[in-house]
């Protein structure tokens, strides 16, 4: 477990300058992208602030800071969550996944690859949030008994993520392609294991 010390002067000054408002510090212990972290942060900080400004995980973006745009979407215990309206102290002991944890060993996630190849990210600012919502959709899809990739389900899964550049068309295509790929792969795997068993 890595202990991150509060070395940022900005952060220390904050409490000093505002004695009027009780600014308690808390230690937040949580799992971020599979790694345990313990961070000291002001009690009123959001999870987004903690990720971006304390842990340097800048992949999660701030588009509105009030729960309207979805650019800050992360997975909290596997569920898409708006980190800008989630207090850091409220996620003690829980698992957070950000876009930085999406790929494996330097390899982009199939979603990222499809997004890049199909032009589903233009300015890219909404993309980390979109990817996390899409990743949750893929998880749900692959764990369902009769997985079918449906456009309507994809649109619903991304309903909380505003994109201003793409008109969503290429985003739908990319998620569709990644979903199809993943289903085929798991089907192939299942087939091999059935073969092995027989």
């Amino acid at each position: 477990m890595t202990e991150t010390a509060p070395v940022d002067s900005t952060f220390l000054d904050t409490t000093a300058a505002e004695p009027t408002r009780a600014r308690r510090l808390v230690i937040c212990r949580l799992q971020v992208n599979g790694e345990g972290v313990a961070v000291v942060a002001p009690v009123h900080w959001t999870l987004l602030e903690l990720l971006r400004y304390q842990l340097g995980l800048i992949g999660s973006k701030q588009g509105c800071d009030k729960g309207d745009c979805g650019a800050c979407t992360v997975l909290l215990d596997g569920k898409p969550t708006l980190s800008c309206i989630t207090l850091a102290v409220a996620v003690q002991g829980r698992c957070v996944e950000t876009v930085e944890g999406l790929g494996v060993g330097g390899e982009p996630h199939p979603l990222q690859r499809e997004f890049a190849e199909r032009g589903a990210a233009q300015c890219g600012f909404c993309t980390p949030g979109v990817l996390m919502s899409a990743a949750a959709y893929l998880d749900e899809l692959s764990s369902s008994a009769e997985p079918v990739v449906r456009q309507a389900d994809i649109a619903a899964a991304l309903g909380g993520n505003l994109c201003r550049c793409t008109g969503y068309t290429k985003i739908f295509e990319a998620v569709h392609a990644a979903a199809t790929q993943i289903l085929q792969r798991s089907k192939a795997l299942a087939d091999t294991s059935t073969d092995d068993a027989s």
């Binding site: 973006k61 588009g63 509105c64 890049a116 199909r118 990210a121 980390p128 993520n161 793409t166 290429k170």
Partner: protein, 804 residues
């Protein structure tokens, strides 16, 4: 002559790109590739401005006016300065030099000097150790105002010429008036078989990029100021910073990191950039300012609301004889690009149709609202709506298919518009044909069951303008290029990548010409210390201008390599091809070497391999010979046709846009994936404006909660939607089905024939939807947005019942 993209042959014939290369294969220019810079952006690796944190960085917040119109009597900053953690406060009098993106209309100050002109006008700025402390400090700054009557409609602003929003403005509250007349309009109107006359209202909308504005400034010990900003015009920012801060330009470095969308909303300097720069000088520490979402809505510079009166005259066969247009533009508190907008409101209407007489009269006025400026399709989306609806009305009266009416009025390629603009290639008829085919128009128009309808519209846009916004004979774009011994190409360009794909476009051209793969090209862009000037990402200029500059630089290097290899191999240089990491003889494929080796051999003979390319637009015989005749003239024009299919719920008045087909003539698609993306994004944005979005202040007498309140000075001018929840834009569940069709009519002025793709495809989406609503239920909505309320009112009128 135009060719649809579906035949892959197009690209190959044009550039002879067939290859048996060992590496990639297929064309790079014209091939379907992803966006060059996408992966690192979407992985949290490359940084947008707010992702940058500098050691000892302070945070800046602004104090903004609560009044729409008021004099500033006094500002007391002592309470803020006394607060622990506050390092500096700055007010308007410390930056008294006015600026404006258009050099002829400098009417803005970094912070308001004597007066505030809209609710949200910035008055003071604070640098403190954290955002929280800065916010608290802002609360402690006391500003005394003398409140004036707020003029929130253009009619009120015109009527109150005595109450000037800008005291030194010459004509009351009028910021610009343009009146131009070509041919005898009145005679044509008098002689016409049909005159369609109507009033049209186009409402305001805003860009709402998902990334808010953000800027950081840092000063080194020697006085060099570096500003990182989420801007789409780093060069203009550098100029205006120099002016306001009274520094030589050489002492300012502007870096534009990745930008999270702009659409015209970041195409001029804003208060935050001046404030962080000033505060960095005052404190000696880096300073960052990140606008809140509400501040982004206040910064605005979005689509101007237009009140339009149009008369269009037709012959019995549907030929347009005259257009007589009168427009009143609601400019908001400052000029911004307004001088240009006022011209564009008439100047950009001259194609794709031919008409022999034309008059437009446009007046832009100041109002006490956030300033309007250039939003995607600057100044020409509003008049396009009026004209294309007029055409639809005419086709109904004349009993002509609206497609046929548009065909009959086609201006043609290599033509000159009534206002003197020279059109080169023109694929408009192919665009019409493409959407007619794809949508099944013939089976649908006038034939769908009631409640379902289909509509068409067409448009034209510019690929950059021939003149810079400040007078100069310098190139509008330039590129430096360097090859190195690793087999890599480096491209240095001042271009602004804002998501539209300029970096990918430059990489494709360099890779195509120098025989490397896309990933072998590093594009270093928008850093004023390292890159030559490009004017910025506006008026759809980069592909044509920077693309041409890049092509020149790359061909210069390619020629050098071919010359050296020709000597080495004893074959003519013309026989040598550079493709997919190989140099080879076209006639004898046995003769080849890896491209890296070719670079090394050439460098060993000639020294470091560098080149430059510049682009200066054609300056003569392409525009009108009259005052203002250069404004809006472009090297090349793009063309678009839209067909929209809608469903109207007659019980609720709700319009559901089911499908929009858009065909766009972009000359040559350097990367079809990105062109489609631009088309889809534009159509989405246009559709959103048509039925959902509305940026305006609350009507007088209403509070934000919709209840009535006592009106009086100082309470008007509140934004009615200043969050992404209240400002309704389409989510993935609202967006219609979009079909993007690429049409290619290569223009000799574009690189490989390329023209613009980023703005044109927005325009005619809106009138196509309005025309489809009419086809569905026979109701004309000439007053945007098309809201359920207006549709219901129209339906009730139609039924002869009293309107609600």
């Amino acid at each position: 002559m135009s060719r649809p993209i579906s035949s892959d042959k197009t690209a190959r014939d044009l550039h002879r790109l067939d290859t048996d290369g060992a590496e990639g294969s297929g064309p790079i220019v014209g091939g379907r590739h992803g966006k060059h810079d996408a992966l690192p952006l979407m992985s949290g690796i490359d940084r947008y401005t707010d992702d940058i944190t500098l050691p000892r960085m302070l945070h800046c917040k602004l104090v903004r006016s609560p009044h729409a119109h008021a004099k500033i009597i006094a500002i007391d900053t002592s309470g803020a300065e006394a607060l622990e953690g506050v390092h500096a406060v700055v007010i308007g009098s410390e930056m008294p030099i006015p600026y404006g993106v258009i050099p002829w209309t400098p009417d803005e100050h970094a912070l308001a000097l004597h007066k505030v002109r809209f609710v949200g006008d910035p008055v003071a700025a604070v640098a403190a150790v954290s955002e929280e402390v800065a916010i608290e400090a802002c609360r402690r700054i006391v500003v005394r105002y003398e409140v004036l009557e707020a003029l929130v409609t253009p009619q009120a602003a015109l009527a109150r010429a005595d109450l000037k929003i800008h005291e030194d403005n010459r004509h009351g509250n009028i910021t610009k008036h343009v009146h131009l007349e070509f041919g005898d309009v009145d005679a044509a109107l008098a002689a016409a078989a049909l005159v369609v006359e109507g009033d049209y209202q186009f409402h305001g909308s805003t860009h709402a990029p998902i990334e808010p504005h953000c800027a950081i400034a840092s000063v080194d010990g020697k006085g060099l100021l570096t500003v990182w900003s989420a801007t789409q015009v780093p060069h203009y920012l550098q100029r205006e910073l120099a002016k306001v801060l009274e520094l030589p330009m050489r002492q300012i470095r502007v870096i534009q990191p990745a930008v999270g969308g702009a659409f015209g909303g970041k195409s001029e300097p804003f208060a935050l950039e001046f404030c962080v720069a000033k505060l960095a000088f005052k404190t000696g520490r880096p300073v960052k300012c990140l606008y809140t979402r509400e501040e982004v809505f206040l910064a605005h510079r979005g689509r101007h609301p237009f009140d339009m009166h149009y008369r269009t005259a037709f012959a019995a066969d549907g030929k347009i004889l005259a257009i007589d247009a009168k427009s009143l533009l609601d400019g908001g508190a400052y000029s911004s690009f307004g001088l240009v907008t006022t011209y564009y409101s008439g100047q950009l209407l001259g194609a794709p149709y031919r008409f022999p007489t034309y008059r437009f009269d446009s007046t832009r006025v100041y109002t006490n609202k956030p300033a309007c400026g250039p939003k995607r399709g600057h100044g020409s989306v509003q008049p396009r709506f009026a004209l294309e609806v007029q055409l639809d009305k005419a086709s109904r009266t004349l009993g002509l298919d609206p497609i046929e009416l548009r065909r009959r009025n086609f201006i043609g390629e290599n033509s000159v518009t009534i206002n003197g603009f020279h059109i080169g290639s023109n694929g408009f008829l192919q665009c019409l044909e493409a959407v007619v085919q794809a949508s099944g128009w013939a089976e649908k128009w006038g034939k769908l069951p009631r409640g379902h309808g289909i509509g068409v519209a067409g448009s034209c846009y510019i690929s950059g303008t021939n003149y810079c916004i400040y007078p100069t004979e310098l190139p509008q774009s330039a590129v430096q290029m360097c090859l190195d011994r690793s087999g890599r190409v480096r491209v240095f360009a001042g271009t602004s990548e804002i998501g539209q794909g300029s970096t990918t476009m430059l990489a494709a051209i360099a890779a195509q010409e120098l025989g490397v793969e896309l990933d072998d090209v590093r594009v270093l862009a928008a850093d004023s210390d390292l890159c030559p000037v490009d004017l910025g990402a506006y008026s759809s200029r980069i592909t044509l201008m920077a693309g041409n500059a890049c092509l020149t630089a790359a061909r210069t290097l390619g020629d050098k390599i071919r010359d050296i290899l020709a000597q080495l191999w004893g074959i003519p240089a013309a026989d040598i091809r550079l493709e997919h990491r190989r140099a080879f003889s076209l006639t004898n494929p046995q003769v080849w070497m890896p491209i890296q080796e070719a670079f090394i051999i050439t460098e060993s003979k000639l020294g470091l391999l560098g080149s430059t390319g510049s682009y200066t637009s054609p300056q003569s015989a392409v525009h009108g010979d009259y005052r203002g005749g250069t404004i809006g003239a472009s090297p090349a024009y793009s063309f678009t046709a839209h067909i929209a299919q809608v469903q109207v719920d007659e019980d609720t008045g709700e319009v559901t846009i089911e499908h929009i087909w858009c065909a766009h003539d972009c000359g040559h698609a350097i990367n079809p994936v990105l062109v489609e993306g631009q088309i889809e994004g534009s159509v989405y944005m246009g559709a959103a404006e048509a039925v959902m979005e509305h940026h305006d202040t609350l009507p007088s007498g209403l509070r934000t909660d919709g209840r009535r309140r006592d009106s009086g000075p100082g309470v008007d001018g509140l934004l009615m939607a200043s969050s992404l929840l209240d400002y309704r834009m389409p989510t993935s569940l609202d967006v219609p089905q979009l079909t993007a069709l690429i049409v290619q009519a290569p223009d000799p002025r574009g690189p490989y024939g390329a023209k613009e793709a980023g703005e044109g495809p927005l325009h005619s989406a809106i009138p196509a939807i309005a025309n489809a609503v009419f086809d569905a239920v026979g109701v004309r909505i000439d007053n945007l947005p098309i809201s359920p309320e207006k549709v219901l009112r129209g339906l009730r009128n139609q039924a002869g019942r009293k309107p609600c």
